[in-house]
Amino acid sequence: MRLSGRFGRFGGCYVPEILVPALEQLEVAFLDAQQDPAFAAELNGLLADYAGRPTPLTRCRNLPGNIYLKREDLLHGGAHKTNQVLGQGLLAKRMGKARLIAETGAGQHGVATAIVGALLGFETVVYMGAEDVARQQLNVFRMQLMGATVVPVESGGRTLKDAINEALRDWSASFETTHYLLGTAAGPHPFPTMVREFQRVIGGEARAQIVEQLGRLPDVAIACVGGGSNAIGLFADFIPDPVRLIGVEPAGKGLSGAEHGATLLRGTRGILHGAETYVLQDDEGQIADTWSVSAGLDYPAVGPEHAHLKESGRAEYVGCTDAEALAAFKALAESEGILCAFESAHALAHALKLAEAEPDSAILVGLSGRGDKDVDQARRLLA
């Protein structure tokens, strides 16, 4: 490897030996592409003319305080995921791969991968926990409409972490022809670095837009954290600035119990899915089952750079319960006419708390996705 792949003590490349050459090939392709103006031109062209970048920065008119929403919900595909699947898709082309595999929880990353598979002409296989397949039939059909094959994963708890395990197993046998399009800024090196770089555009745009609209930097930038890709994308360009960075983890049914996915708040150091990071686990290292109303945040590990930002003190991490997220989801719909994803509602919920305490602070919120996928669940939960 050319880079260390470490963020402080976190990160690394904990995979079976057989996968190391594939990750080395990916790192080389990524670093070469970063130096290649033709790659940047093609990616930026797709981001602008296909995906709809730049996304707007919207100042909330009716919610209290000064809340600015970075509108990744308006990106093609309905979430920030599209940014990085386009980047990885072009890299896969560059490496001469013919097939993409991906994991998905609720289906958003699977849909994003199916989009890039259709656009760039890959055979696409998406691993999805059998529980999630049953709960997210519409997203399964979306993927199939775009030509992807969805494989239900029956092992383990039959959710996102099991889908990642299965994708890694597939990749161990298929890496010569196949790119594993990991969906977040977690996993083994070079994924956390690469995904951050492909998502950096979120914070880069937001920084320029808020300076333009407000004449200064925001006081706070807030994003939800599952694996952590939208948060690291929002934070990356603000790290050198005097801006508070706050990641919001899913506190589920409450942090005092076990039904949450608050890895940085309640987890301990461990090694899962290729990286040393914080992990929700028992005292012997067996991975815990997690819970969040939002499937996109329901993951027992977290991107290793967030673990480092927490330990170094550069970013703060807080929790937001299912109930708080639902209330924020409803408030945004009623006050601003925006249906956001349950994931994004976690970030907004914390922004609303902060706006009450500090009405003059300029608060930037990463609105990572739109809420269409959650409308059905909201109808049941808010009834």
């Binding site: 995979v15 190391v20 383990g156 090694i271 290292g285």
Partner: protein, 260 residues
Amino acid sequence: MSRYFTMFDRLDGAAAFGAFLMLGDPDLKTSARLLDSLVEGGADMIEVGIPFSDPVADGPVIQAAAQRALAAGVRVGDCFDLIAAFRGRHPDVPVGILTYANIVVARTGFMRDAAEAGADSLLIADVPALEADPFVRDMEQAGIEPVLIAAANTPEPTLRHIATLSKAYTYCVSRAGITGTHAGGQFDAALVERLRAADAPPPVFGFGISAPEHVRAALSAGARGVICGSAIVDLAQRGGDVARFVRSLKAATGNESAPQ
């Protein structure tokens, strides 16, 4: 003198037959009995898994075995107890542990406890040579012999690194994939040759051994041993005669049953 060294010395150039079981599958008592069946069948070395909830290097058979053990409430300490009791019954049979990094880092003194139980080696499936140095230092300090995986696609510099880190044997993976993958009787003689050139510990093939012809194919590729895992675990789970199955594979190595 290491038990592996003594074993290879005793075999005098003949191949070693290694047999794998998941500790605690399906429960502690049955697991202890199954370990004895491996020796009864003539296994020269025993490999044991310590179950992990998320075993990414394992195929469905060994995943299911780990799930059964965890569902039975088996803890890491129970696994060390099983090894210690086995060691009491079989003082000379080399025992290697196969597990995952998170199990090792979660337990302070994992290597020391493994050594005290009487284990001889440790292979951590998701620790490649790139990340192995600190783990290997801990193993050596505790008197556990490191085993690393070498694959057909492992580049030369990594292979040399593996050769310097590994002690007991080199775990060779011929074809891409996970445990339980059928190698189709194809074992990579070039890998064996490259390991020999790098002066690595004896090459032992680990994936895709489920029938006597696989054993013979691996040996004709130059292996000093083979390990059979998924096929034994699967048979045990179905209540088959494990000792008899081990005997049939062991016979294909051409080495006579050693006095145990």
